[in-house]
Amino acid sequence: MRNNSLYLIIKRMRTPMYVLIATFSISILGMVLIPGMDDKGNPYHLSFFDAFYFVSYMATTIGFGESPYDFTYPQKLWVGFCIYLTVIGWLYAIGSIITLVQDKVLAAQIALAQFQRKIKKMDEPFIIFVGYNSMTKAIIDRLTNEGIHSVVIEKEEEKIKMLALENYTIEVPALVGDIRDPNVFRTAGIHKHNCRAVVSLFNDDVMNLHVALSAKLMNKHVTVIVEATEDEYAQNLKTIGADIVENPFKIVAKRIYLSLKSPSLLMLEQWIYGDPLVLRKKDKLPKEGKYIVCGYGRMGTALEVGLKRAGIDYIFIEASPKKAAKAKRGEKVIVGDADDKKILLKADVQEASCIIAATKDDLLNLSIIMAAKRINPDIYTVARENRINDAIVFKAARIDRVITIETLMVKKTYNIIARPLVDRFIRLMMYRGEEWAKKVVSMLKECIGNNPETFETLIDEDHAFALVNHLRESGEEIPYETLYRRRDDYKKRNRLLILYVRRGEEEILLPDDSFPIKIGDEVLMAGSKEVFEDVEYIMENINELCYVLSGKECQLSFVGKYMFGDGR
């Protein structure tokens, strides 16, 4: 049986109950056996009922007095003994119950039972988050706004209490437990068919590997999203079947590369992650001159790849000789503290065009930037911000470009979970190159504006009732162009752009107007909220669909069938 808390209570209540029964029965028996005297001086014996009644109120310290008649001395003697016997027994029992209620083990058991009940009742798809920190918190925030359920497993009870203070619109069940215990995953409902994904974004790659491994073994259908910042772990994770392995530093390196080589792709990528579709000052890295990268750790090595591909001249400064020794032959790595003026001068900071502070210490990054600026005020500065909480200081430091690792991870993970098409679109678009991206950007700007939003939908009965029925009944082809038509005038075109259609294995970027709609298509489009509403109306409502198809109020074949029986 699963509910242990009840058994725990009962087991620990056994001794107090024995004590109660024993003291009560001894007292009652004594009261019945000892002869008393009634008001007329006749001897009598208390009946069992009288004795039970008397002992009950005596033991519970209520004390109504002697009944049915005043007691004789032998009776009083026995009662005197019984008072101590039963009252102690009674207090002992009450005390045990109260201790039990306050007991931590029991409280934990009750919390566990509540958690299990919540998981059992949950019918909607949900995501399991391992570890509750500023990153997962931000992701859960966004997901609850979208109406997606989350479950949290966290080792520290304090953090769970913090979670309870958050006012999420959807309840987020949280479990205190160490992920190294496989039972914890089971309790969190990983085996349930509506568990969609497990997310583990620990800074520690070993931990992530552990989570991914146990999650995959317990339910191979669940999507596993983990962070891995070192290549060997990323490899291991892929071999055990983790679906998505995220490396924030690779994203950073890619963005640096894109801003040097293909600004349109960068614009598209940043737009999809939630920025406006423009290039800002911070996106324009100097294309020439030498780059100084401080820190040859996980981010440094990732940047090395990006900068090399972009054909930029660069030099590294690394404080730890051990890390510096890992550099491949031919790489320029200076060993020393990067905020030391001498070291900076050694790296020719006065000549360099850009400095990237990429250590895992936020304060060090800030002091590097300050030191470099003092020597070379024109230098372009890029700093890595590790913790979201440090944002204020970084803002005050007037750094040209701040890279917030945690925010990147939050956006990326959110896209994977809530907007799978968007995530896929980013990957496909990277293969198309700068020319294509330029075209898309100009199309988007021309058609919608500087800040288009994205919308994902699925052509099925839940999302496109009218459209699906019409396709089934009439058998005629409806092109994607239909969705562009306006509801007030079908000849005019809505400010909409269909970016990507996924049809099973087939993937179509920017489908033509004449491309036919098929049931089961997954569609990603850009536009504004009002336009998306129009599209939804056209897909869902028979009358709207009918109008945009033919230009008049009419009845489609299947409408007649519903209304008049069999299509007459």
Partner: protein
Amino acid sequence: MNLEKVISGFFIILALTLNFGFFYGDPTVLEQHNRYELFAAIVVNLIATIYKLGDKTHLGAVLLATSLVADIQLIAAASVWALGEYVTGLSTEMVTAIISLSGGALLANIVSVVLFTGDVLKSKR
């Protein structure tokens, strides 16, 4: 030998024998049934019930159920007795009700003992 088994076995069987002792006799004549014996049966039954509490096995659950049935019937018998003596007066009808209630409890106790012995035999030790 498991001391806990000895104690629980003792109480379970004592509950049955005391119950039988009270039940045995002419069901219409209250004088043939001892009130102290009923009291003892109730107390021992309660103790036996507590012994069966907190056992998570299936058998433990059934044993607990039989014990609870016996408790309820015996307490009902005592209540009827008190009601008859102080409120309505002890008619033959009342007396038979007391004795038949304890008879019901006896059946539950027999089931309990049978289950207990079955479990002991099954353990092959």
